[in-house]
Symmetry: C2
Subunit: 651 residues, 2 copies
């Protein structure tokens, strides 16, 4: 943080320099950032109306003409003088002579309507001089070659739209800051406007930093990860009125990074960096920012979770931002702290986020002293909306990307108790309440079974909280069913012993569990599971990967091992996939997973025992259409075939 001592913009003497060494509150940081950037004019450019959709008006638009531009007939009929028809009635037809003219759309009338005459006029035609009302053709009868008869009075102005009655010349048609949608395009077109002043979208350069980043589409090196933030920040800039220019990932090399940042800033209105998850990488970017322009760093470290490492700077009037490296931290801080500034630069009004109230089903721990934002998924419970906190943390992209919104825990609270009614700010305009809610243990087989539901337009939400978490949710009535694979040691059976009142078991499929090892590992090839474990225990260089306490697979492993705790026993990931990855990547030499996962990872597999993956169905919800659709899909030939071909055994 050694370079964070730039003076405050309004404080050129730098009296308060030390405050940059401390972490600012979210509100302080945002206020300082905005004070250093605004007010500033929104640069404008002229845009063809046909290309203006989605742009923002940079100035007020005043209607240059009346719409309609003339007194217009709203029907097909005859232009008349209403005074001529004052005495007309069923028994007292009035005869009007037809003028030698037919006013079509687009035809300027040439002759006046004198008393006792009428002129044929089409919908949209200009009302001729002298006429003050239109009689519908249906309400007239021909009366000889050049005359009509009318048997009802006409009120003055009848079926006439007067000039300027839609839009009056001189009125403020649209105000600066209006987002131009199809309706605004219509109003502008109606006035004949073909060029509009729009805000020039701020150019935002996006740079990812980090030696470990690989761009999507390229092969992934060992220990490398795909650059997620580059793509998501670039897209989020576009969604919020900016013109994003993604410059790729720059390695952690000071001179190379500085050159890239200088070039990007010179060509852009704003620079956003992301990456630099490790301390060293972050320091690099901060050191460079301090050299880029005045006033420099405004806030470095914000009492915000996720997002503490956020760095906000202003260099020669341009915002420069270093987002935290973790994807959910990066996106949440971008959404919360950068989007308001970007929208203001783009001339857009502040985003108006929808809010709903939802009950938190579980206690959420929080760190004292930091405002904490918790990403949540919403489902409909018996008593209203339920907000499930994402369990994946800020290092996961899905914590943000699959959330419906977030709730806030005050800096002074160390938790949010279960049962709290919390306000949830939505990421989308509406809550789309899912049609089918599945809470429990996830399995890729589940995605196969729900595929036809998704194709039929049903929204399926699957929240992975493990078997026991799913059972608890099912008992609370928060889901339609919970997928479980719980082994009861006493009864030596799966799942049924765990059912509570109000739940019933829907049999799912069997997943063959077995020992995995790298193909070609001579220690295990051709052995039974028991023999493989004996071989592993006999080799001191051999390391295992275990599973978490509570997993059915863990019970199987413990039975095979007895009291032995070999190397790797405490490596206890929570999923079948993590076991396969550990073995494939030489973190371990053997472990226990399920056949489809071993197959996908290209590992050798020794089958041992089938796991029962079933569904604890909430009986009260059984008749719901989406539940019925799921049960039908589960029993269908198509569903069973998909399960079989993925390596599962439907029952």
């Amino acid at each position: 943080m050694s370079n964070a001592k730039a003076p405050l913009p309004n404080n050129p003497e730098g009296i308060d320099q030390d405050q940059f060494l401390t972490v600012l509150s979210r509100e302080q940081a945002l206020a300082r950032f905005e004070a250093a950037l605004f007010p500033r004019p929104v640069p404008a450019e002229s845009q063809l109306l046909a290309d203006a959709l989605g742009r923002v008006l940079a100035g007020d638009v005043v209607a240059p003409i009346d719409v309609p531009p003339f007194d217009r007939s709203n029907v097909d009929g005859f232009a008349v003088r209403s005074a001529d028809l004052a005495m007309a009635g069923e028994a007292a037809p009035v005869r009007l002579m037809l003028n030698d003219e037919v006013i079509a759309c687009g035809t300027a009338p040439a002759r006046p309507v004198l008393s006792g005459t009428a002129t044929s006029i089409a919908t949209g035609g200009p009302v001729p001089r002298g006429a003050d009302a239109i009689v519908m053709v249906e309400h007239t009868q021909p009366a000889g070659p050049r005359a009509i008869e009318i048997r009802r009075a006409a009120s003055p102005g009848q079926f006439v739209s007067y000039a300027g009655s839609d839009i009056a010349r001189g009125e403020a048609l649209l105000r600066a800051g209006t987002l131009i949608g199809s309706r605004e395009i219509g109003m502008l077109a109606a006035c004949g406007i073909s060029q509009v002043p729009v805000a020039r979208a701020p150019r935002v350069a996006v740079i990812s930093t980090g030696d470990e980043l690989v761009q999507p589409g390229k092969p992934l090196r060992p220990a490398a990860i795909y650059d997620t933030n580059g793509a998501i920040v670039t897209a989020a800039v576009s969604e919020n009125g900016g013109e994003a220019v993604f410059l790729g990932a720059i390695a952690d090399d000071e001179s190379q990074l500085e050159a890239a940042m200088r070039e990007a800033l010179a060509a852009s209105d704003m620079l956003v960096l992301s990456g630099g998850t490790s301390k060293g990488a972050g320091d690099l970017s901060h050191r460079i920012i301090a050299r880029l322009g005045k006033p420099g760093i405004i806030a470095h470290g914000v009492a915000l979770k996720p997002g503490k490492p956020l760095c906000l700077a202003v260099c020669d009037g341009k915002p420069v931002v270093i987002l935290p490296g973790f994807p959910t931290s990066a996106m949440f801080t971008f959404h919360d702290m950068i989007v308001p500034v970007l929208r203001r630069m783009a001339g857009l009004p502040p985003r108006s986020d929808a809010r709903v109230t939802a009950k938190v089903p579980v206690r959420i721990a929080s760190e004292l002293g930091r405002t904490e934002f918790v990403m949540v998924s919403l489902v409909e419970g018996d008593g209203g909306l339920i907000a499930y906190p994402s369990g994946k943390g800020s290092g996961a992209i899905t914590s943000f990307a699959q959330a419906d919104g977030f709730l806030k825990i005050d800096a002074l609270a160390d938790q949010m108790p279960a049962g709290t009614e919390a306000e949830v700010t939505l990421f989308t305009p509406h809550v789309r309440v899912p049609d089918l809610v599945i809470v429990g243990s996830h399995c890729t087989g589940l995605d196969l079974v729900t595929a036809p539901l998704a194709r039929a337009g049903l929204v399926v939400r699957s929240i992975a909280v493990g078997s026991l978490g799913g059972l608890a949710a099912a008992r609370r009535g928060e889901c339609d069913f919970a997928p479980i694979h719980l082994f009861d040691e006493k009864s030596e059976s799966y799942n049924t012993p765990y059912l509570a009142d109000g739940l019933e078991l829907v049999p799912g499929w069997r997943r063959m569990q077995g020992i995995v090892f790298r193909k070609g590992d001579k220690r295990f090839e051709g052995l039974s599971a028991q023999a493989a474990v004996r071989a592993a225990l006999a080799d001191p260089a051999c390391i295992m990967v275990n599973r978490n306490q509570g997993a059915g697979t863990r019970i199987l492993i413990d039975r095979l091992l007895g009291d032995i705790r070999p190397d790797g026993y405490w490596n206890q990931p929570r999923s079948h996939n993590a076991v396969a990855a550990a073995v494939a990547q030489h973190r371990a030499d053997w472990g226990m997973t399920i056949a489809p996962v071993a197959q996908a990872a290209g590992l050798g597999f020794i089958p041992l025992a089938e796991e029962h993956y079933d569904f604890a169905l909430v009986t009260a919800r059984k008749q719901r259409p989406a539940v019925q659709a799921f049960l039908k899909a589960l029993a269908s030939d198509e569903g069973r075939a998909a399960l079989v071909s993925a390596g599962f055994r439907p029952v």
Copy 2:
């Protein structure tokens, strides 16, 4: 309708042909249209991820890798074996030897962590073989050149994100039909996906028909109007997943129009025509459609208001639509009947419109036998939302473009009584309740005064219902104030006599009323108002334009005329602009309007008497910030100068 006899697609014998001669209900028409078009596959194409924002996934995407791809450290620290630290405590430090390796981001570990050792690891680094937990660097002390000391136990898995814990290989990442936003881009990038299957946007050709149409930007001929529907339909197609191609306005010439329609349909997936307000023009398009392909016209005439003349056809599998010519009819039917089909062709889920409940302040008449949709503007009243029906009708673009949404009156009802609590379907995701609500008589001066409020981000809604309508709304507490210019003949004074309890007068500005005539008209040049009227009455060829009953200006005119009812007396438009347009366009030779309007229309003007344009303020709302901002703007030098330069006289 002679060509409407194409057989139903599921009814090749055409048994029910006659039904096309009758008007269908909205639901029948939509059901038949959809039955003739669906199911059909959504054509897919591959799109670079960087260009996929806003597109729709055409297929399910399965995660090809685990994210993270390896067991990853979440902090800067040391990879350890947790068993080594089982006994560690404040009084019992454990010393671990450092392995000769530093695992940075992107570095694959080369050495295992054996018991009694630790490896330095950065955030994001892959956990090495043997290690099962990470200790934060803050919780360690250096203990010699190649060792560290740790005084607390580490739980297995501490600060490790396991492979696949964010996204598991094989899981259904995103489903077909998902609209790709920044969050979806992030999930795809995290998996390394750089190409996605997206729905090919349906190409929609848009043709305007009508000799009277002029494209925006071109000069307007007499009797011509600007083509509004072409631009708005084109934009609305883009907003709903289509790729719009606007082919301009085609004249009402059968062979020319047929050639254009055939060419457009051959190159597109859908054809939308609009225009043809008059009966003859409409028949032209219908005749052509009948020759374009089978099955042809599906519905011609729908019991829907606005929108009765809507024509739906399917020609060789492609939808062909003729929208009604009136802009609000065109847009409402497009929104209601065409958008569902377009979105389905584009692979998009149905639009989910938000709904609110609002009270209708006035009776709304409705035609029996047609489902009527009434465009409304929402304001906040004392007891909740108030829905003001648009008074401008379906011929106006602003009825649709300025509405917040619409309410529905059943086909069997002939009215909706004042006070009804109606469900309003919103055009936008949220109600943006205006900060300042002005209901009454509109004046372009008002736009000048509210300009600074708009610049400050306040939403000002002005609903033009005339002075008396505004007073009624103010008495009901539905607005902040009502602009009025009501002359009381008894007291010979403006506005004050009309105030009710709870209202107070805020003086506005004076508008000079006078006689308008075309410059150069020798009959009026140089005369006083009284003399000008005498001159007009003396010339039998001279025609006037009057104002509506109730207008203050009308009282002035009637005083000048006494009992005389000259030619044009019954031509009674409701606005100053319409009077100026009538004179400028030779519909009339003289009338009475206000100076700024006469000036804008380039007319001669003889001043007569000032009209008082004041504000009836709802006292209970006086302290609202937006009201205070308005009062401040009204009194400001800037506001007064703007009024003066536009021809008004502030008081």
